[in-house]
Amino acid sequence: MSSGEKYLAAVYLVVLATVLVYVAIISAKLARLEREVTALAERARETRG
């Protein structure tokens, strides 16, 4: 690969990596939210029952 092509690949990879990291962060947040919802639902059931 010529050096020009290497930098080209670097740019696309950087963008791809950023998007993937971002998606990972959002997924982790979603997982946390899900856990909290489950915990809250538990608490609600206890308070009621």
């Binding site: 930098y7 959002i26 909290e36 809250l40 608490r43």
Partner: protein, 219 residues
């Protein structure tokens, strides 16, 4: 929107890498243009969107615009940082330096990066509530005004900071290149939109969960 984003983006990348004609002077690294400039334009769009939402917040007082404005600014900052990184890599391949003060886009985004980074510092230092929403909104408006003013300033500054020695592809691209560019631009905007909606949903959920928890605690 996510599906549309995926389709357009993949098409754009394919076009950019395989189909678009090769630039005679710069060779393969010219294709970076199809990534760098759409990202830059998308960043501007995000900041503009954030400022619009900020204006709506100040106008109506409806608090839900706060999260929308904040998320938009967040998106803009991410894309802005990407602009700086991709622009720097492009500078390295074109001219052999990692940074150039003669490159207007780069300098503009550096100023904007400093400005919007301070946005987050401001937000984190303020206590939660409508006051923070309002102040953030005003700051976002200042940001969007700063964009054209900084651009003017950079153009004026070129006389004494760093004379432009290098030129870049302008709108005088061939038709094929332009088409590829448009597809990539559309792809980037859709990507930003998708990420924006996702992040916004996450933040809203977070907020409602917190309210629910407080309600349960008291009730």
């Amino acid at each position: 929107m996510a599906v549309a984003a995926a389709v357009v983006l993949v098409a754009g990348v394919a076009l950019a890498l395989l189909w678009a004609p090769e630039d005679a002077d710069q060779g393969p690294s010219q294709r970076i243009f199809y990534v760098h400039v759409p990202i830059a334009l998308t960043a501007y769009a995000c900041f503009g969107w954030g400022a619009w939402k900020a204006l709506r917040l100040l106008w109506t007082g409806d608090q839900r615009y706060d999260l929308e404005s904040y998320t938009a600014v967040h998106m803009g900052t991410i894309f802005g940082t990407l602009t700086l990184v991709t622009g720097s890599i492009w500078a390295r391949t074109s001219w052999g330096v990692w940074w150039s003060w003669g490159e207007r886009q780069l300098v503009l985004f550096l100023i904007l990066f400093l400005f919007y980074a301070a946005y987050f510092m401001l937000r984190f230092s303020l206590p939660d509530g409508p006051g923070r929403a309002r102040i953030s909104a005003v700051y976002a408006l200042f940001g969007v005004v700063l964009i054209p003013i900084s651009f003017l300033a950079i153009r004026l500054a070129e006389n004494f900071i760093h004379p432009i020695v290098f030129t870049r592809d302008g709108p005088q691209m061939s038709g094929d290149m332009f088409f590829t560019f448009c597809v990539c631009l559309a792809g980037m905007v859709l990507l930003a939109g998708t990420l924006y909606l996702n992040e916004l949903a996450g933040k809203r959920l977070d907020l409602r969960l917190r309210e629910l928890r407080e309600a349960l605690e008291l009730g």
